[in-house]
């Protein structure tokens, strides 16, 4: 064999995967150096979806940032809305009404369900399981129908406001949730039966892309990928915001940190999120959803139509924007891929001085070479799927 290697030397081959490869779910490029089929070097090239989110925020008022946050991680846009709104509210030092908090939790968890469904479905699709994709996309369609009846759009939700929400829950939301979750659970168990014990699927994902817990922490992992390594870190438990401390849910953790663990963690999180939504809908109090602070939340239409001083103040707040006190703040929520943080700086004027986002999938993408070196070229597909890098969030 060693003689053969001397007489038949092989050269490394450099392969460009992307930027528009079906695996990349967007635009990202890998520069893969191959020895046969083994990966010896792996370079991730991000930035193809850079839109200058942070710079755009500096040129718009605090409210106008909401439509931009929809386009960060565009599969669960509600969570971005909620994270940004909570960060601004922390900067302002205001508290929102109870009903508002519950609705925000419901919206976030529905978004999380839709994201995990998409992620598992797309991963299955890329590993050849088209049936699982069809079942989960039907479930996602049902969840998105609920979100559509809630906020008026599927993707570009623009639902949460500073100190409030766009609108209240629709009247038949509870019945709709019961019906949708019943169907979702059926589809979930079908996909679970098709994938979890499927030997073809297991052979592709098990023991691939292993990340030990200590290294995962060192790389800055959060979210399902960190939990798959066995660290029970979840912002919803570690630093509870909204009403998550009143909810009863479990943190699914893996043992090994490979792609199969990440898949299992995501599947379990779908169920846990459904539990949270059901609890929240059971406990939700009636009452207002917006704060009555005309300087921070646009006033009600009743006031604007009928009172001249309200109308004048409305003009002032809309054109100049709300004016938080000078200062800086960091607030993190549990996004679908991990800790989604917003770091805001205000200089006391109507526009953010700085709006920095901590994207959860940036550290995950950065760790791709660590996870993939030494394995085969085909392992890029499941590993990158389970990372769930979203270009809109990573590149901003």
């Amino acid at each position: 064999m060693s003689d053969l290697k001397k007489t038949l030397p092989t050269e490394y081959m450099v392969l460009n995967m992307g930027p528009s490869h079906p695996v990349t779910h967007g635009t990202v490029k890998f520069l893969v150096t191959l020895d046969g089929e083994t990966i010896v070097d792996f370079v991730v090239d991000i930035g193809y979806l850079h839109r200058g989110f942070e710079k755009m925020c500096e040129n718009s008022t605090w409210e106008q940032v909401f439509p931009y946050t929809d386009r960060l991680n565009y599969v669960p846009p509600m969570i971005n809305n909620v994270g940004y709104a909570l960060a601004v509210e922390k900067l302002l030092g205001i508290d929102v009404p109870e009903r508002n908090k519950y609705i925000r939790v419901i919206a976030s968890e529905l978004s999380r369900i839709s994201d995990h469904l998409t992620n598992v479905a797309a991963s299955g699709l890329e590993l050849g399981a088209f049936t699982a994709f069809l079942y989960f996309v039907e479930a996602r369609e049902l969840v998105w129908d609920m979100l559509e009846s809630l906020c008026g759009a599927r993707l570009t939700s623009n639902y949460v406001r500073i100190g409030g929400l766009k609108n209240d829950l629709p009247e038949d939301f509870k019945d709709q949730t019961t019906a949708v979750f019943k169907r979702c659970r059926e589809l979930w168990s079908d996909v679970d039966k098709l994938l979890t014990k499927n030997r073809i699927f297991i052979d592709r994902v098990r023991d691939v892309g292993i990340m030990p817990p200590d290294e995962a922490i060192a790389w800055g992992f959060t979210g399902p990928c960190l939990r798959a390594s066995g660290v029970p870190y979840d912002v919803r438990k570690a630093n509870p915001y909204l009403v998550y401390d009143r909810m009863d849910f479990e943190i699914p953790i893996g043992e090994k940190g490979d792609n199969f663990d990440r898949y299992l963690v995501r599947m379990e999180e779908i169920i846990q999120s459904m539990r949270i939504v059901e609890q929240a809908l059971k406990e939700i109090p009636s009452g207002p959803i917006n704060v009555d602070m005309p300087e921070y939340r646009w006033q009600s239409k009743d006031d604007i139509y009928n009172k001249i001083e309200s109308l004048i103040f409305h003009f002032k707040t809309v054109t100049e924007g709300i004016k938080p006190p000078p200062g800086e703040v960091y607030f993190a929520v549990e996004g679908t891929n991990g800790e989604l943080g917003f770091y805001l700086v205000s200089d006391g004027r109507g526009k953010p001085y700085k709006c920095r986002v901590r994207p959860p999938c940036f550290p995950l993408t950065a760790a791709m070479p660590r996870m993939i070196k030494g394995s085969l070229i085909a392992d890029v597909v499941p590993t990158f799927d389970m990372i769930n890098m979203i270009g809109g969030e990573c590149d901003r």
Binding site: P67, E148, G152, K197, S300
Partner: protein
């Protein structure tokens, strides 16, 4: 090899974190490794879906034409919820004039800078009133966020339920003038009522 669970988060006890191990029974049994029975088990699931969907064409469930989820667009269309934000339109009074007074709030809040207004004055029923001489909405820029509807103090702009025929081959044709945007009050009544309801006073915290 697997790792021991000895990571805790800060001072939070594990009982509160409620970790749940999801990786169990990972080793396939002999029965599962035989491959054929597992394929049969998978086929049972997919065949069940197939048969149920087929039967759903003959005996459709309540309120639906068939059991499968697909909607045969454009012959059939989805019923969209009242919250749906479609193409923004200007509300037209019964006499054909617009409600808009060209105050410019929608222009200033629009995050995509899609709206541009030139205001003017005219005489209507022996009173001077402001009106938009031109009201241009660039549909190639609009992001359907609904801020224009939310800030409008005159109920003059509303998000309609129209989502079709918005694509064009020429960008210049996507710049909508005022005439193309006007829609009568009657058709938008539901939406205007809905807007009044969601931004009504009882949704605001009383102090």
């Amino acid at each position: 090899m697997s790792y021991e669970l000895n990571y805790t988060i800060g001072s939070i006890p594990l009982e509160k974190l409620k970790p749940k191990k999801v990786r169990k029974n990972i080793e396939l049994t002999l029965w599962e490794r035989l491959y054929i029975p597992e394929i049969v088990r998978g086929m049972i699931i997919t065949t069940r879906h197939f048969v149920q969907n087929m039967a759903g064409f003959i005996f459709p469930p309540n309120g639906k034409k068939r059991r499968v989820f697909t909607v045969y667009y454009p012959e059939e269309k989805l019923t969209i919820p009242i919250a749906y934000r479609g193409r923004p339109v200007l509300v037209m009074r019964e006499d054909g004039t617009e409600r808009c007074v060209a105050c410019g709030l929608c222009e200033s809040i629009c995050p995509a800078f899609a709206i541009s207004i030139v205001g003017g004055e005219r005489r209507r029923e022996n009173e001077m009133e402001r009106y938009p001489v031109t009201y241009t909405l660039d549909m190639s820029r609009c992001v359907y966020c609904g801020f224009c509807e939310e800030v409008c103090p005159k109920e003059a702009i509303a998000m309609s339920d129209e989502y079709e025929e918005l694509a064009e081959r020429d960008r210049n044709r996507m710049i909508y003038p005022k005439e193309k945007l006007l829609v009568s009050e009657k058709r938008l009544k539901n939406r205007i009522d809905y807007v009044r309801k969601i931004y009504s006073k009882n949704n605001y915290n009383a102090k």
